[in-house]
């Protein structure tokens, strides 16, 4: 998978043997990061492990609480985990706490897809890019002690059993933990959509403060309560249990640190351990007093949330430069820390984050390549009252992104019309480094979008990025049921084949019998057939979404997540309850469209060659697709060279707009059982690779098995007019038909030659300003590197867009002779393409 970097949407860091440490800078810098580097040492040598403790403790608790209300069952389970899970503090650590295992690890959630674990655990051991180590003995514990309890009791069992038969078939076929290929379902892989909590609450009130609130409420709901709120007492009791358990968990660390300090010979480390002990004695129970305490409290909270339930892309860090700033500012003013110390603490937090890896309980491994992690960490943006929110900490975090040796955390910057010029300059300096970070979110699009969905202005301005390119309002949003990805090229194939589609080599009648493609009199009839097939998939999508809403409410109750939420606390309801009063029950784009570019390109080629120019017949096309263009290269080339979306060509871009409008229309027609109207997003992660792998050839000239286009972008290499034309096309493709479109993922390849000097950075800044003006949603850069160029030598057809940039000269990289290409590759290694 040499080219996953090009293909995967949010660039995942590859830890392991390929771990790249940035070259040595100045001596001082080397010394400064000594602790961080020591902490990172075993990242390189050790694949991550599976820790089964969380699953074991949870299961033990659940066995004993069958007669309790759901909130209390979950509270008790979390209490048991927090009180009993093994704890440890590594050498050199400043921020402490883990999920039961030293080093990098993932944990198991048998309550969701327990049925998958029996087989899946052994698969995890396979040496590949997703490898996790698990011992024979642990596998036995899982199989003998954990899974038998969950058999028939998991969320996924309930989900499958409740699904209507036809929906179940369309989604899963005969693979309950994979996909038939039309809809790739994320149900129960995680317990929740992308999520971020209100860390500020923990920092300001502490869990004890929150517990006090719950206690007061509990008294108020006593026998004297005229409204009889007795049903709310379960939630409040659950909150109290969990708050106490959080404090106890930290205190276990306080004691461990103190014990270790007692026997520590190194006086420096001894002092550090004593400090850790004092801090863990104080937070997260009480309000944080220092920057150090704030980060430790943030990590304990995040850690507990990670043990409570898996969320898509892992729990986010939210607007970290906002909620940590008061502590940073005070400590800096009082001389308690300096920039380097603050940086070290932040980076210790990044390491804790990097040590925890999500295990995706699905057979469809290629849908989640690498150890994907989207703990979105957001800086910049606006304050609730609409001023620029950038502060010193925003700059410091950017600096860490530039200097920290591994690709953590998943950093994004909120850009808006008043983003300060010097901050944007620093952002561009980091982008230039070529890691693809930070990614950019556009306030000028996202805030109006949230307003259109009913948010208050101050809430909308305080949104945070969450997951890959999705967004959240952390004290208003409550919608957690996961969505699924729709294979749009499969819908097109059904439209062209009277409802039939070939998946994994098998031809199946799955869609609606629209009509034979040769009977289409014009392009509109084809579009109509496509919209019927898509609508059919959307209907089944709503079925599965409704069932999942029911299952989530019946099976899940995330008490820690809920107690940190204003609305849940006010209403004394678990966040998994649908329709809580005062909440915004809106998903973050659950209908995830895969292969938008592939379909637009296909339709454009069909319109041009078959209906307009009549240089190709529908039969010839279908025949060529059937044989995967074997002996039909002439036709394939005609398709490949038809007008292409992504080049600011109205012919193609108007079709893109029409498709976008169609994609937004169907979901508006339906509602889930809880009354939710679902949003559309274009965020592939790596599903465009996974779904592409099981599909046959497509009318854009793509051969069977090749990846689909990614996000809202054209297929790889099809946008040959440079990034500006791509951006213009993509802006044009946004039909704005309804306000149900969000998270439009957009990756742009950029040649390092463009950003290698002062002017280059200024131009990149202008590019971003214009992107902001154009009201795109998201942007992430892929700086062209030598690996990408080598791949272009091997697969020129995928890289037709690489332009060699030299003054007064024009040519594409793939057109050069191998010798010249090699020369450019060697130059690119020194950043001068």
């Amino acid at each position: 998978m040499g080219d996953t970097r090009n293909e995967s949407s949010c660039i995942e860091s590859r830890i392991g043997n390929e771990q790249i440490f940035k070259g040595p800078t100045i001596e001082e810098d080397k010394l400064k990061r000594e602790r961080v580097k020591k902490l990172l040492e075993d990242f390189r040598t050790q694949p991550p492990k599976v820790s089964i403790e969380r699953a074991r403790l949870l299961t033990m608790s659940f066995k004993e609480t069958e007669d309790l209300p759901l909130e209390l069952r979950w509270a008790k389970a979390m209490e048991k985990i927090l009180k009993e899970i093994s704890i440890s503090i590594d050498d050199n650590e400043l921020i402490v706490g883990n999920c039961g295992e030293k080093g990098r690890h993932g944990i198991l959630f048998p309550e969701l897809r327990g049925g998958w674990l029996a087989k899946g655990l052994e698969e995890l051991n396979h040496k590949d890019e997703n490898q996790f180590i698990i011992s024979e003995q642990d596998i036995r514990v899982v199989k003998d002690e954990i899974l038998p309890y969950w058999k028939g009791r998991t969320a996924h069992d309930a989900f499958l059993n409740m699904l209507p038969e036809d929906t179940r078939n369309i989604v899963f076929g005969d693979d309950d933990y994979g996909t038939l290929g039309l809809i790739q379902d994320n149900a129960n892989i995680n317990a929740s959509l992308n999520w971020v909590c209100d860390y500020q609450k923990v920092l300001q009130k502490g869990f004890l403060g929150i517990k006090e609130e719950a206690e007061e409420r509990l008294i108020a709901t006593g026998p004297d309560d005229p409204n009889n709120n007795i049903d709310k007492t379960f939630f409040l009791k659950a909150v109290i249990i969990v708050c106490d358990a959080m404090v106890e968990f930290a205190k276990r660390y306080a004691k461990l640190a103190a014990d270790m300090a007692d026997v520590e010979k190194d006086p420096v480390r001894k002092k550090e351990l004593e400090q850790i002990s004092r801090i863990c004695e104080w937070v997260p129970g009480k309000p944080a007093r220092t920057f150090y305490e704030a980060i430790q409290a943030q990590w304990f909270t995040q850690l507990a949330l990670r043990m409570e339930q898996p969320v898509a892309g892992v729990i986010g860090n939210g607007r970290i430069d906002q909620y940590l700033y008061p502590y940073y500012k005070r400590d800096m003013e009082e001389g308690i820390i300096d920039e380097d110390k603050a940086l070290e603490l932040l980076e210790c937090l990044w390491i804790k984050i990097a040590q925890f890896l999500p295990i995706n309980a699905t057979r469809a491994k290629s849908f989640w390549q690498g150890y994907a992690h989207f703990e979105q960490t957001v800086i910049g943006g606006q304050t609730q009252d609409g001023r620029d929110a950038t502060n010193d900490l925003s700059y410091l975090i950017l600096r860490s992104k530039k200097e920290f040796p591994i690709n953590y955390p998943d950093l994004s910057v909120r850009i808006h019309s008043q983003t300060p010029e010097d901050f944007l300059y620093k952002v561009c300096e980091v982008i230039k480094e070529g890691s693809g970070f930070p990614k950019l979110l556009n306030d000028e699009t996202i805030i109006p979008f949230l307003l259109s969905q009913g948010a208050l202005l101050e809430e909308a301005r305080d949104y945070t990025g969450s997951g890959c390119t999705e967004v959240r309002m952390i004290n208003r949003d409550t919608y957690l049921p996961l969505g699924a990805s729709i294979n749009l090229p499969a819908a097109l194939e059904m439209a062209l084949n009277n409802g039939e589609v070939v998946l994994k080599g098998k031809r199946i009648q799955l869609g609606i019998k629209t009509r034979e493609a040769r009977e289409f009199k014009d392009f509109d009839e084809l579009m109509n057939a496509l919209s019927i097939q898509y609508d059919y998939l959307v209907k089944h999508f709503y079925n599965r979404q409704s069932i999942l809403e029911i299952v989530n409410e019946q099976k899940l109750s995330a008490v820690i997540t809920s107690l940190l939420h204003d609305v849940c606390m006010r209403e004394c309801q678990s966040i998994h309850k649908g329709n809580i009063k005062g909440a915004r029950h809106q998903d973050t784009g659950n209908i995830n469209i895969i292969g938008f570019g592939t379909v637009v390109e296909s339709l454009t080629a069909i319109k041009k060659l078959i209906f307009d120019d009549k240089t190709l017949t529908m039969d010839e096309l279908l025949q060529s697709l059937k044989v995967n263009f074997e002996g039909k290269e002439v036709i394939r080339q005609m398709l490949l060279n038809a007008p292409k979306y992504g080049n600011n060509d109205d012919y193609a871009d108007n079709i893109a707009r029409e498709v976008d409008a169609m994609l937004l229309t169907s979901p508006r027609k339906y509602k889930t059982v809880k009354g939710t109207s679902l949003n559309v997003k274009y965020v592939p992660v790596t599903a465009h690779v996974g779904l592409g792998a099981i599909m046959g050839a497509t009318p854009n000239g793509r051969k069977a098995g090749e990846a689909f286009s990614e996000g809202i972008s054209p297929s790889q290499g099809m946008d040959v007019n440079g990034p500006i034309s791509t951006l213009i096309s993509i802006a044009k493709s946004n039909s704005q038909k309804f306000n149900n479109s969000q998270a439009r993922l957009l990756n742009i390849k950029l040649s390092p030659r463009i950003v290698d000097d002062e002017k280059g950075i200024k131009d990149l800044m202008s590019f971003i300003r214009a992107w902001c003006d154009q009201k795109h949603w998201h942007l992430q850069f892929n700086i062209v590197n030598s690996d990408m160029l080598r791949d272009a030598q091997k697969h020129p057809e995928k890289h037709k867009d690489l332009i060699v940039r030299v003054a007064g000269y024009s040519a594409f990289f793939v057109d050069l002779s191998p010798a010249l290409q090699n020369e450019i590759i060697s130059r690119t290694e020194h950043q001068v393409m």
Binding site: V634, Q637, M638, I724, I754, D763, F767, A770, G808, S810
Partner: protein, 305 residues
Amino acid sequence: MGGKVNLGCVFNIQRFCVHDGPGIRDVIFLKGCTMKCKWCCNPESQSADKEIAFKQDVCLGSVQCGRCINACPSNAIIESKNDKSAIEINRELCVNCSKCATICPARAITVMGKLMSVNEVINAVKDNSIFYRRSGGGLTVSGGEPALQAEFVECLLRTCKEMGLDTAIETCGYAKWEDLRRSCEYANLIFYDIKCLDPKKHKDFTGVDNELIIGNLIKLSHQLRDTSVIVRTPIIPDFNDNQEDVRSILKFISKLNNIKQYELLKYHSLGEVKYKQLGRKYELSNFKPVNEKKFKELQKISKEL
């Protein structure tokens, strides 16, 4: 202009250029050049007429495809004698009618050069104005030698200025003064190439005298004294990669009053592939890169301006 449509022969509109003037720009490459520099990296710019370019490596060949063989009215396209599945273009017989390019499914055969009106060019770039506005960029006319299409260039750049777009031009200076003046009239910035002051060497390597070029630059500095000029010298090994040549140019231009900057461009052989596609021979085929250290030294001199 009146009722007559003013057409220019364009061989490429390159987007997102950042080395040809301020900000982010589109460069309009015009066809036709007055010089024939041995190192020319855009050989498709030399002839003023449309030309056929052929990319052998993407051609499907006569067995799989061969559509161009039938389409060619001059019988200029034939199966290769060496490789029966490949095709060959006989440039002697080719009349550049472009029928083969229209029918080629793989775009192995393309036409270099397209007649475009000023409006067509403007339409092709105006969507980018949002990027121009943010970056202070605009449109740069390059070539070939734009002054060969002086009327078109004048009209194009005037229209741009009327629209508030920034304008620049790249010229080799070898053109009739009146044409050059008209072409530069509406440019905010002029890139002016001086290859070498030694007349004999200049003639050897570019095929023309440098007297006109030098004279035109002096005239520019008087008659368009408010327009900034950046003088550029491509540094070619064994031609002008020495201190004397660079110093003499520096000395000459420092006497002129509107030269804003002196810039050296490093010679590269990236154009080599295009010679083959056009069925021509690349004369500098045993390419030697410019010595990096030497180039840096020369660059230092150029910055003395």
